[in-house]
Symmetry: C2
Subunit: 546 residues, 2 copies
């Protein structure tokens, strides 16, 4: 459209005209006395006019720098750049520098698979396959789960950045829509409700690689749906001035890999051949993996699988965790496999077999526990456990390790104390925190007033206050950051003066947590700490037999 100086704005189609036609159309007596500019005041001539796209607002002026007599309205569009998807993960996972962020990106896809398998009738199987065998094609990171899969509409929604579970309409017909339902309360909130912001999967896949093929079959339907989202596609579409966020879903029958033609993708044929065994599934196939990721995944296999076993500890072991006689068999299998050269034997590990993740270490060295519950003013519930790691004969049994909140050096117990005791706020951070059953790795919570070492009149030695670790299970009322690395305000809420703590013994609430705690700690010390006392010095005896 074209709006002018003093005249009423007039709407004119510019397409199909050249500059001179257009001037004639406007019935401008002589171009010498007028000039036609964009709203950026670029004076149009024959060439610039050609470059112009449709839908522009133009000003017809007497002089180039004349004031606008009437205001004009200009229609614009500001669709987010595709870096919104492509680069989102990059900066999201770097919440803290120097940290290895890749395990947390992998976790996002395991989160999705846990959500998707939540209503499975039988076993829940989540596989992470690292296909780094050149003879099968280019390097690929593949997640396969036997969950509910996605309809084509849900697959479409998968790709929509920031479409959260609260706003999503997953069906093509309004009448079929069901709103978000909050999960039921279950012990330690292991409710598999860990898909929420509509960003995790997209951020993760573009952090792991640069192209993703989603392959999915929804429960109860005969079709498989495929969607590819890739950086290259985005770049091509931008170059060709196509709609950046348009894509194509390929609908096909189960097991049909006739569309896979590139040699570099032959590993997909095996994957598609497996489809016939499953009623429903989702496979996330990520390629374009940068070499630093493949190197890390190969070389640090033990450490990142341990990290994952820690994050999902209570999903894979049940709500009591990895206790010695576990009668809470979990039906969740998270299986990791790594294939390198064809000659090299593949590495396979079920996360349940990992026995050196931090939670396992804490649990294995626990001599007694103290369970409690916290209810916050805003309606959130947190279950908590304190675990006593006694002193046995000649050493502390508090677990040590790179991921321990307390990392004492082997021989200096004195040093250990100073490390543990001197947090910024004077409180020791003892709690690892789980949200809907899943570890939120960067948030740790400081001890509460009722379990803090009293400044005087303590009935137990001070070192006992260093012998317990803790874990908190927050329910879905608490919020976490989109990268699931930190809680938003768990600590603030818990340390709020109106938060109510109660000890739980055999499912029963007890009154007076401070006293209860004190009795527990005293009893732990008296019954569990075993110290060799050297009482009464009898002089030195020289052994003559040596």
């Amino acid at each position: 459209d074209c709006r002018g100086c003093g005249r009423e704005p007039i709407i004119v189609e510019t397409s199909g005209f050249d500059f001179n036609d257009f001037l004639r159309l406007l019935a401008i007596p002589s171009i010498e006395r007028f000039c036609l500019t964009t709203t950026d005041r670029t004076v149009l001539d024959f060439d610039k006019f050609q470059e112009l796209q449709d839908g522009n607002t133009l000003h017809l002026m007497q002089t180039e720098d004349q004031e606008l007599l009437t205001a004009t309205e200009e229609q614009i569009s500001f669709t987010p750049h595709y870096d919104t998807l492509v680069r989102s993960g990059m900066y999201e996972y770097y919440a803290s520098e120097g940290q290895k962020a890749l395990p947390y990106a992998l976790a996002e896809l395991i989160d999705n698979a846990l959500s998707a398998t939540a209503h499975n009738k039988g076993e829940r199987t989540i596989e992470l396959r690292l296909l780094f065998d050149d003879t099968l094609g280019k390097p690929a990171v593949v997640f396969v789960d036997n969950g509910s899969g996605m309809t084509s509409k849900q697959l479409n929604n998968w790709a929509v950045y920031r479409l959260s579970k609260y706003t999503r309409e997953d069906v093509k017909f309004k009448s079929d829509h069901q709103g978000y339902v909050r999960p039921k309360a279950v012990p330690r909130s292991i409710n598999s409700d860990i898909s929420c912001f509509g960003v995790g999967g997209k951020q993760a896949v573009f952090y792991i690689g640069n192209s993703t093929r989603m392959i999915t079959r929804p429960t109860g339907f005969p079709d498989v749906h495929e969607l590819i989202v890739s950086k290259e596609d985005f770049e091509r579409k931008e170059k060709n001035k196509e709609d950046i966020y348009s894509g194509v879903i390929h609908n096909r029958k189960v097991g049909d890999s006739s569309h896979i033609r590139k040699e570099s993708e032959f590993f997909l044929q095996d994957l598609i051949a497996e489809e016939t065994e499953k009623e429903s599934f989702t496979a996330v196939v990520i390629t374009g993996i940068p070499p630093e990721h493949t190197t890390f995944l190969k070389n640090d296999f033990n450490s990142w699988t341990r990290e994952l076993a820690h994050i999902y500890h209570y999903y894979i072991h049940g709500h009591n965790g990895n206790v010695q006689e576990n009668n809470l068999k979990s039906d969740i299998n998270i299986q990791i496999s790594l294939r390198e050269k064809p000659t090299k034997c593949p590495r396979v590990v079920n996360l349940r077999e990992v026995d050196n993740d931090m939670q396992t270490l804490y649990i294995n060295s626990t001599a007694d526990t103290f369970e409690f519950k916290a209810c916050t003013v805003s309606g959130g519930t947190v279950e908590g456990v304190l675990r006593y790691h006694p002193f046995l004969y000649d050493r502390e049994t508090y677990p040590r390790g790179p991921l321990s909140l307390l990392a004492p050096t082997d021989d200096e117990v004195e040093d250990w104390e100073s490390v543990a005791g001197n947090q910024a706020n004077g409180r020791r951070h003892i709690f690892e925190c789980f949200w809907n059953g899943r570890l939120i790795p960067y948030t740790t919570v400081a001890e509460f007033e009722w379990c803090q070492r009293p400044s005087k009149n303590s009935t137990v030695p001070v070192e006992c206050y260093r012998r317990f670790s803790g874990v908190l299970f927050a329910d879905d009322r608490f919020q976490v950051s989109t990268n699931k690395l930190t809680f938003m305000d768990l600590e603030l809420q818990l340390h709020h003066k109106d938060t109510i703590f109660t000890r739980i013994v055999n499912g029963q609430e007890q009154r007076g947590i401070k006293k209860e705690f004190n009795q527990w700690l005293t009893s732990c010390h008296e019954h569990l700490d075993k110290q060799v006392h050297f009482v009464g010095f009898n002089g030195t005896i020289s052994r003559t037999d040596m």
Copy 2:
């Protein structure tokens, strides 16, 4: 389009038809023998067909659950949800829980103003006005700068999420486009090049409030451009199934406020009246401020302005910082004003007047400095300064405070040592870090090997190693996270074995930094630390005059 079982796919327009027409059009003999489904296998009937939008892929089947004989392609669109803008800031600024995030959101808009005023001929003025006076309208947070402003195309680009300076084309005609130019090297990299990812402004405004009016006049042009982006607009557009990311730029002459009609926005009239005084400017007017923000901004005025003075310390004081006799007059004015009730006198502070921000405290207690430079393998340059805070007579002069890296309690020097010395990696974090001259608040860097306390053979007492603070100035080769709260890999790069450190004395590079440092520290101790020694005990004298 409509693709079938066995037949070739056929493209059919569905709009304008009802279900029965459509069946006739397909020439389906009898609907009893066929069914028409969506790709989600919803069987269509008269009502569902009405609900259908154009551009759907439909399957014509013999039975509802028949396999697809030929694969079909379905066109989809996955434009990011508007929460991409609206909620982005919320989780971005919560990088660490319990932190007051608002000052960092305000900083994003000051960053933009600093970038925009970088090429100003005269004074650079950046105002932050908090209009919390009900008599003028609803609460508003307003930023005004006298920078280069934006053309309507640039204003359009402002709204595009993730359009970074590297990919942006800020002109309507390709021929006018100039690519991104790296800033020239200046002392301490105070280059005003702190606009980069295309997210900061949007995240910040939606964190601060829920509606933003951008008002801007580009240098050399007679027009003012206005654009409103608001949560309410987004919601309305979604409800009406309009294009979510479409908007309107209002082009008008300078000083024309005839479009402001709502009483709640009368404060805009004053703002627009000021326009005539400026050649170019940008005003960011944020409304819909939640009460917790207004409360914080009012009650914690001193603390958040101090925080801002700290972030921009070297912009407002020049590259030597807030030294006593400053002959490097900076031409950057960052002015904060707060208006509350009409009866209450407005509070006004120029950030340069703040004299208790951490950098000022460090600088004021410095007795000597040690300057150095670090060059990393990837081509980055970091300038560094160590500052010696001597022991004077009866106390340490190392500044203390809530924002100090070292927060010793008043009377326990012993405690102080244990706090400072026991970082996770055994190194003391002493460096505050600036990126292109701007503080990156959550990244602190540990001391380097050459300035670490040697395990033996130290020529100076150990406590001297606790008497220096440090600051690092990283250039634009280093990357920061999009929320500008942390560096991506500054610490990793600096502690890389191939990073070369050199001492700088009067602009000259010296060799052997470890030896140079040792000499400097020894000399600081010998000449600057002044201790009252009580030598020789002469017995106790009772004062009889008391």
